[in-house]
Amino acid sequence: MSTARAEVPGAGSTGRPQPGFVRRCIFSTDHKTIGKQFLFMALFMMAIGGAMAMLMRWELAFPETPVPLMSWVPEPYMYGGAIPPNTYNSMFTMHATIMIFFVIMPILVGCFGNFLIPLMIGARDMAFPVLNMLSFWVGAIAAVILLASFFVTGGPAAAGWTSYAPLSAVPIYTGVDWGQNLWCISLIVLGISSLMGSINYITTIINMRTRGMTFFRLPLIIWALFITAILLLFALPVLSTALVLLLFDRLAGTHFFLPQGGGEPLLWQHLFWFFGHPEVYIMILPAMGIASEVISTFSRKPIFGYHAMAYAMGAIAFLSWIVWGHHMFQSGMNPALGSGFMITTMIIGVPSAIKVFNWLGTIYKGNIHYTAAMMNALAFVAMFIIGGLSGIFMACTPVDMYIHDTYFIVAHIHYVLFGGSLFAFFAGLIYWFPKMFGRMMNETLAKVHFWITLVAFNCTFFPMHILGMNGHMRRIYNPLQYDFLKPLQPINIFISISAFVLGAAQFILLANIIWSMAKGKRAGANPWRANSLEWTTSSPPVHGNWDGPLPVVHHGPYEYSSPFGEEDYLPQNVETPAKAAVAG
């Protein structure tokens, strides 16, 4: 426990003048501003990644017909609005790269991590505020590099977000030259940004918890972000290493991944997925944390099995290092290894199931308030169940032999990353919006957005399981080139129409964000009557987070409907009268 170190010199209500506009809004070292910067960058990137998804769905529903309103795009990217195969390959490559590295990670880790960690552990800022600012700006440079790759000759990377060598390692194989190099450089730069962030998160959570905030009084979102930061710290250097080797192969004539020089294509896959599977959990653990906060608050009930929830996340983090081979069952890796990875993969399903059961336990005998945040959090659980269960199919090596590289996998990842991570983002955004901006989001708009998104999401991604069961390969730009896929075309058209609705519905979210920031109902300090420390300060919090001394913590964050409290909630900084009497 470290109370003395929790005071940041010069921060807080020390009477110092507010910094000027540039220091306050652009090169700010305030964790709250940096969190918002990550949010806005991610929303901007989400618009680009989403637009590419729409173009892909048009192509899959109406292959080789010009996309409406896109005839202005110059050749060779499009031909009078029609998408050629290489552009299609670039689109799914960039869609996934943007959504994974520049939307979900910046939102869940960058935005919520930065905004929430100091506020929820009772600190005035991050341990290293300047490093924190650098983390955002280095991340922004990575985004600019990635976007720049759209404008180089040959277009952006087209080897898939997994960039399997040798396809990615030799320019003539894809026809993409600097696009792929910039892809590598962008992700190396982003890796530096993430490392700076993760070191900061770990240091802050270990050293800067306020008095009374023991590890087992931390909200689960902080546990989630702590474990995520550890995963980032160990996983990203592996990706960076692989990317540097790939760049050497492309630019310096080495043969790390090229068999003609004695290299090994599967080495790339091992390195990539050794990073890639922890990465999957980097994108879902914070979402699980958000769901835990929101579900407990709006059930007005303690989270069920707090310790089991924390240990389950620890187990996921550990197991995530020994399951990577399940991406490589059909790769030519020794099939005996596949059996081992099948068992570890099956086992990693257990802690995820524990979490689902505990969320159900949390709403059991609760007093559930159906706010828009709660609806999104419950949808997260429901969609994560489907995404988790469909994962069992591909964990089973013989079944994976059939469904690997088909739309079954596309359905699975979107149930986990959209149904999971993004619904949790919606929940978290609505829940913490008042703390971020001092105003409530519009509930009606949020609920309209929720229902359309939920229905359109399922109409888009559930039928992809059916496509996958029929062997529909992923990453093909025209299903009509195959006789056996022609009868499935009505399903593809249905999916695309649903996807357009899903895409359009996100404008409701965008409008709600913009409108609510300017005109939303003013929020009090604790609009949801919640327990954790961020609700004990003003909305938005002052520079330094609390006027006066830091709050002192007396109990865990989930004391809802406690027999000791007079209300149905008991903030962490409020001493329980009855408990105090007993102790005294």
């Binding site: 195969p85 290489n86 080897a159 399997y164 040798p166 396809l167 194989y173 026809g175 068999p259 290299g263 090994e264 294509p265 007005r300 009930k301 303690p302 069920f304 099995g305 059909q330 790769s331 030519g332 099939p335 005996a336 059996s339 099948m342 068992i343 086992i347 199931a353 524990i354 689902v356 336990g361 709403i363 559930i368 159906y370 169940i385 269960l389 069992i392 199919f393 964990a395 089973c396 090596t397 013989p398 079944v399 032999m401 059939y402 690997h404 590289d405 059916i466 062997g471 390969m473 990453r475 093909i476 730009y477 025209n478 080139q481 499935l488 009505p490 399903i491 809802y560 409907s561 149905d568």
Partner: protein, 230 residues
């Protein structure tokens, strides 16, 4: 939509017909996992919906103060673990039979993937691969029905993936590696061989045909091809 295509569409809500000796074993595992996951999904989702309706906030209600139940945690952890590990153990032998050893081969080929075609090499009249009388054909893979086919799969450039949905067979073709693959087709017919791994701008459309033929038809075709190639 026409009635014919509608019924065709409805038929597509299940796995396509399996035509290899191991396809029933894979379909069994698929169906088993589908039954288990569907049952779990119904139980969990129905429970969730019942809780959501029953425990909705109403005036005068308060939530129960329950922090957890260690016995329940142990129970659902162990049940989940037992089911999942049992599934893994059950799948192991199928996997080992398909990808680790398998029966001895009766006919042998070499399949080489390249951007964006499959090259199939057949043994000539001497019945041996790697001799000067070999015949190489693009995208046409003729095999006799009810014979154990073994082939060596490799690639000339990037990674491709040899996929025949009806065989339930998929295996990546990796440059620099020679991967041994086997299947035994049980039904005559023509089946597509798409590439399942992104291999460049021509990935979409990379498509061969597997011709499963009677022994006599197969021999006739092979002789004709051999004659053409000389």
């Amino acid at each position: 939509m026409e009635i014919a295509s509608l019924s065709e569409l409805i038929r597509r809500f299940w796995l396509p017909q399996g035509i290899s000796t191991y396809s029933p074993r894979i379909d069994f595992l698929f169906t088993l996992i589908l039954c288990i996951t569907a049952l779990v999904w119904v139980l969990v989702t129905v429970t969730m919906i019942v809780f959501m309706i029953r425990y909705r906030a109403r005036p005068g209600r308060t939530a129960a103060y329950i922090e957890g139940n260690p016995r329940l945690e142990v129970l659902w952890t162990s049940i989940t673990a037992v089911i999942l590990i049992a599934l893994a153990l059950l799948s192991r032998s199928t996997w080992a039979d398909i990808k680790e050893q398998g029966p001895p081969g009766e006919v042998f080929y070499k399949v080489t993937a390249k951007q964006f075609n499959w090259e199939i090499t057949y043994p000539g009249p001497d019945g041996k691969l790697g001799t000067s009388d070999d015949v190489t054909v693009e995208n046409e893979f003729h095999v006799p029905v009810n014979k154990v086919v073994r082939f060596e799969l490799t690639s000339k450039d990037v990674i491709h993936s040899f996929f025949v949905p009806w065989l339930r067979l998929k295996q990546d073709a990796v440059p620099g590696r020679h991967i041994h693959v086997w299947f035994e087709a049980t039904k005559e017919g023509e089946y597509e061989i798409p590439c399942a791994e992104l291999c460049g701008f021509g990935h979409s459309g990379m498509d061969g045909t597997l011709y499963v033929q009677s022994e006599a038809d197969y021999q006739r075709w092979l002789k004709k091809k051999y004659a053409e190639s000389r």
